[in-house]
Symmetry: C2
Subunit: 329 residues, 2 copies
DNA sequence: ATTATTTTCGCAAACGTTTGAAGCAAATTT
DNA sequence: AAATTTGCTTCAAACGTTTGCGAAAATAAT
């Protein structure tokens, strides 16, 4: 039974509850003899401290909230994975919440976080929401809030982002180094700030003198990326390289390339921004600039720890990228 | 501030705590007038009930534990996603735990579940653990336990599994219908019961008279599946079909097929057991027998609800499969 | 006007911990 | 021998709710 409480132990042993409590946490006040007795009984009775009682008494919970748009997304998975690892190390548990890019679910989730008195919250900024009020409520409740990946523009929030600009530049440079002249570049939804950043620095870093043709397209879904790619490679003047801003886009593009029997890197080169799991599915493996959800998670957690230690400053941190060659360029 | 409590509201309004509590939950004892007052003040003070206090008092938590080997796995993701959706609908939250196939992390996680007094636990049986003692502890604590996907052999646990046998048979029949005669069939780790079930019914359902050659192989990882496939397709007598027991295996097999330029379905057919996300990456899309983590999750949650409603019976439920044609056979 | 009934509310205990302060022996110092 | 210290233990309050029960006030029935 898990209905073993301090009280029960104390009654069996004929000592007070407080003594039991202190004995269990190895308090110096308690004699070795009683400590031993208590520990042993607690063991045989399979005592487990009641977390809710502890939380209530100490006004702290060893609990983090973590809200993602969707859990069925490799990027967020690896983020979650990183947070979970670190959380467990430090004795915290994770409350996972999905917003499904749905504003109502989002405020519902945030309410849950407040009710559960989470010690901190990692959240993604669902772009359908231009309503930060619900987030401000958690801030007002003194819950450290860290936005990751998709973050609001406002400056008064902690943010951990991928080094989008840097990554886009690395991809652009890799393409130029290979002397690509006719590039299909597929980006995500226009309204995402992440798209804007990547798009800007990508285009900007092309050397005008080398006048490569850049075909900029936007796809908000895998299948749209597939269509776009199909279209471009059915033309006579086929691109000699494809740049994909994300895994979702890469998946679509690759499907069309496979369909048309385009050989990589013979007929065309491919490079993507990705965390790597998708690029490694293909042969040759697709070159990618790593945008690691895992590293993002590690950094976010680090920032959270600092916040928990009383750091009230507002930071915006970036996770560095690196180019992973894959034989596709 | 989230430090608004019933007490505070009661003081401001000059009424008792219990009245406030009852007013907030629309108790018939309370007059409409005071209800209105209370509701309004609670609103402006942004009152949120303290979940830990509620839990302590009611001895219930609106919290489920969910332990998976790893969160970076599309199958488990869709499972998690399903559970999360249903949980939120019913006002529950989700504690996510990763075991990483590590027995120590597993017992640690189970302890966390007990300490947090979760109302129920969904768990995967990490095959490295032949130690069910930790699970028995949560059962002893009267926490409904539902194993999913990988489950122990013992009969005294609730289990929700994929209809492995059925699925394997469907795949075998699909292969025979296409008259495949030289089949490479790659299965997962031998020690997994899931492998045993799939392997048995797969082989058994082949019609002996048609004497198709079956090459049974085992791969516990993607890269091993890749190697095996490479090996078989470098022979003169190439298989005319590949069967992959899981997504991990499919990914490896496909990589080698791409590498060798084997055309699908021209040179060889491919079929897999999968939840579908991976097969849809390729062109043509790979035929698969659906083993949906999402449906598994929905069913597991249904079972959990029953348990919570006092159903003490032990069930073993199966999620039905269906064949999804994909142009790869 | 008295009793009975309903409506509305408050008291107080309980859930299982933690923790400052106080109690009380025995041991040590003056 | 009195005073102080030390070592161990207990008391009691508090965290924020929920809830059975009783009480007062308002309404209805006699």
């Amino acid at each position: 039974m898990s209905d073993t409480t301090l009280k029960k132990i104390s009654q069996v042993l004929g000592i007070s509850i407080s003594t039991v409590s202190r004995a269990l946490k190895d308090h110096p006040d308690i004699s070795a003899a009683t400590k031993k007795k208590v520990l042993e009984l607690a063991d045989t009775l399979e005592y487990e401290p009641n977390a809710t009682a502890v939380n209530l008494r100490t006004k702290k919970t060893k609990l983090f909230g973590l809200m993602v748009p969707s859990v069925t997304n490799m990027f967020y998975d690896s983020f979650i994975s990183a947070i979970e690892e670190e959380s467990r190390k430090t004795g915290y548990s994770l409350l996972i919440l999905q917003s499904n890019d749905n504003p109502e679910a989002e405020v519902e989730n945030l309410k849950l976080c407040r009710q559960n008195r989470v010690s901190g919250l990692f959240a993604c900024y669902s772009f359908e929401t231009n309503n930060l009020a619900a987030f401000d409520k958690v801030k007002a409740a003194d819950i450290p809030l860290i936005f990751f990946d998709k973050v609001p523009d406002q400056t008064d929030y902690n943010k951990i982002c991928l080094a989008d600009k840097e990554a886009a530049v690395m991809a652009a440079e890799a393409l130029q180094k290979k002397n690509k002249k006719n590039i299909l570049a597929i980006f995500g939804s226009r309204q995402l700030s992440i798209t804007k950043r990547r798009l800007e620095s990508f285009t900007a870093s092309f050397d005008k003198k080398k006048n490569a043709a850049l075909h900029i397209e936007h796809a908000h879904s895998t299948s749209l990326a597939e269509d776009i790619t199909l279209q471009y490679f059915q033309k006579l003047d086929k691109p000699d390289a494809v740049f994909c801003m994300s895994d979702e886009i890469l998946m679509g593009a690759m499907k069309s390339l496979m369909r048309l029997g385009i050989s990589i890197p013979g007929d065309t080169g491919v490079i993507a921004l990705s965390d790597g799991s998708i690029p490694k599915l293909y042969y040759p493996e697709i070159a990618f600039v790593e945008t690691s959800g895992y590293n993002l998670g590690k950094l976010a957690f680090k920032r959270m720890s600092e916040c928990l230690n009383g750091d009230k400053e507002i930071h915006e941190d970036l996770v560095p990228s690196r180019l992973v060659e894959g034989g596709s360029l």
